[in-house]
């Protein structure tokens, strides 16, 4: 990159926010994961914690393709389902050990994402949304009707939890224990976060946001928009597939209804409420939209109304989601506090 005209160098930082702050945040998150099952000791809340971790993975995956690459993908429920069914069938029908089946199923849903995107990269905005929604519907119908393979609406029962891990010098870790299972799923959610965070903070981050902002402009900078969209879809569906594998071994039962297209919209709501185009936002959104309906359980079906109203209010008034709300609040609160003192 030899460049013309000698010019003065100015102190410019590409990234804002020192690294040590982020390291502390990561340590705090790891600490929170370690402590949570100790606070939530009953099976009900531990189950909710695991669902939070699963949803966080799904939302993170969707955010990579939606919030960064700007592609409205409503097929996330399908990749979730493909991961769940592929791993379960590999284990129950082919007798493959869990972790190998896990790797296979993750690769399979990633591959499905790449295949979908090869067709979808020609489409934009609403058209892409409709095409990916169609993919989710087709996948659901296949899971429902290919009875010889998936047992259709009857479902697959008695799926074993991940096999115990025996590390030398430590007691055997059993995953029929909800706390351990939470550590496993949350650990993978954390890993997904780290992986996506690394990718976003590499030049790939600028490449994907450039595509999101203006494809013609991105192409004028040498960016192959199609290839990078395929990449984003692949990463996104891989993460969703991993979540699916854990879902199957956590719930122990697989029915196609768990992967109906409405699941895609639930994941979309988590990303939007949390804050698109940030990584922490979708995690927050996933936790909030998983826990909120549980907290509202005692008001019966009215909780769905509250849920719907809450999502609508966020979209209308804080389109940047929780992340933007926090940013606005932290910018305003000190000023209000000062005014209060004066």
């Amino acid at each position: 990159m030899s460049r013309p005209a000698p010019v003065r160098s100015a102190p410019v930082r590409i990234r804002i926010g020192p690294d040590w702050q982020r390291r502390i945040a990561f340590l705090a998150a790891a600490g929170a994961i370690a402590v949570l099952p100790l606070i939530a000791t009953d099976a009900y809340w531990r189950t909710n914690l695991i669902v939070c971790a699963l949803n966080a993975m799904l939302a993170l995956g969707l955010d990579f393709v939606l919030g960064y690459a700007g592609q409205l993908n409503l097929g996330q429920s399908a990749f979730y389902g493909l991961g769940a069914y592929a791993s379960t069938l590999l284990i129950t029908k082919a007798g493959i050990p869990f972790w190998i089946a896990f790797a296979g199923a993750v690769a399979f849903s990633g591959f499905a994402g790449v295949v979908l995107s090869l067709f979808a990269i020609r489409l934009r905005g609403h058209y892409l949304a409709i095409a990916s929604l169609g993919f989710a519907v087709i996948t659901y119908q296949i899971l429902l009707n290919w009875i010889s393979l998936t047992q259709g609406p009857l479902g697959i029962y008695a799926i074993a939890p991940p096999p115990p891990i025996a590390l030398p010098g430590l007691p055997v870790i059993n995953f029929d224990n909800l706390a351990n299972l939470f550590y496993l799923v949350a650990g993978f959610a954390f890993l997904s976060y780290l992986l996506l965070d690394r990718l976003i903070r590499s030049p790939i981050g600028e490449t994907l946001t450039a595509i999101r902002e203006d494809e013609v402009s991105a192409a004028s900078l040498g960016i192959n928009c199609g290839a990078w969209k395929v990449f984003a879809f692949g990463v996104s569906s891989t993460v969703a597939g991993a979540a699916g594998c854990f879902y199957a071994s956590f719930v122990g039962t697989l029915v196609p209804d768990a992967f109906f297209v409405t699941e895609s919209f639930t994941i979309l709501a988590m990303v939007v409420v949390g804050g698109m185009g940030t990584l922490i936002g979708p995690v927050g959104g996933a936790i909030l939209l998983t826990v909120l309906p549980e907290l509202l359980r005692n008001i019966g079906d009215l909780r769905l109304v509250v849920y719907g109203v809450a999502v609508t209010l966020v979209v209308l008034f804080v389109p940047g989601g929780i992340v933007e709300a926090v940013r606005l609040a932290s910018a305003r609160l000190p000023r209000i506090a000062r005014r209060g003192k004066a």
């Binding site: 005209a5 160098s9 410019v12 590409i14 450039a210 900078l221 928009c225």
Partner: protein
């Protein structure tokens, strides 16, 4: 239409230079409208080559054909002896063609420096695994991009605006930022589409000065303009089109006295 068809050999070539980019018989029509008709031209190396013409003459279409946003219906585009006619826009960037847009197309929500960094896309030198584990090569690349971006922003006078979202910059600043972003791709040929549109007199002066600095550094420039004064000041060679067709080409002084050009600009009858 055939009145303007000429062979490349018979055409006058700008003095003392080899062609960086050669275009032969380029055609493009949209529906029934012939936006570009049988255009042949040669852009000499290290020159400032201006394409002028009245509004709607097909200048921007020509630029879109050269940069690969449109595919020509007929004709060939050859960069340094290599036929790039079939290459999509992003592949042409790797061969050294960069451009700016008449209607500014910055990444409005990204900061100025992030816009420039996006322009380094084809020049990153990082082994794939280091995208996940940021080790030495990644950090070296990161530092190099940071320094280069700072240098480019300073070059266009935006060092102090590095962290401002591109959409919040003034119009003139946005035009300069687009040039900096295009320069980040390290082009041999930089094509600027109406760079002076919407700029005030002082900004135009700065722009001219920067463009001349780029030419001195070895970059070939192709400027699409309809502002004649600006073209006369800076261009080595002027190529005039009207109604999508070749009208005239020559040194700036010759263009000003050519009857057909004057007609086209003052609203005379097309040839």
């Amino acid at each position: 239409m055939m009145t303007t068809a000429r062979s490349a050999d018979a055409r006058p070539v700008a003095p003392g230079a080899d062609a960086l980019l050669r275009v032969q018989g380029l055609h493009k029509s949209f529906g029934g409208v012939h936006a570009v008709r049988d255009i042949s031209l040669a852009i000499p190396e290290r020159a400032i080559f201006a394409v002028i013409g009245p509004n709607g003459a097909g200048k921007s279409t020509l630029l879109n054909l050269l940069s690969g946003i449109y595919r020509p219906d007929a004709g060939a585009i050859v960069l340094q002896g290599i036929d790039v006619t079939g290459l999509p826009a992003h592949r042409r960037v790797r061969r050294g063609i960069a451009r700016t847009f008449q209607k500014i197309r910055l990444f409005r929500r990204l900061s100025a420096v992030e816009n420039v960094v996006a322009g380094f896309h084809v020049h990153h030198d990082i082994p794939p695994w280091q995208y996940v584990i940021h080790a030495r090569a990644f950090r070296r690349d990161h530092e190099r991009c940071r320094d280069e971006a700072a240098r480019l922003l300073a070059f266009v006078g935006l060092a102090h605006r590095a962290h401002v979202p591109a959409g919040s910059l003034s119009y003139g600043e946005q035009r300069m930022l687009e040039i900096a972003r295009a320069l980040a791709t390290a082009p041999r040929l930089l094509m600027v589409d109406e760079p002076a549109a919407g700029l005030n007199a002082a900004e135009v002066e700065t722009l001219l000065d920067r463009l001349q600095a780029l030419r001195r550094s070895g970059i070939t420039l192709c400027i699409v303009e309809h502002n004649m004064d600006l073209v006369m000041k800076i261009a080595d060679w002027v190529f005039v089109i009207d109604y999508g067709q070749f009208l005239f080409e020559g040194a700036p002084a010759d263009v000003q006295t050519h009857a057909g050009v004057i007609d086209a600009y003052l609203g005379g009858k097309p040839q």
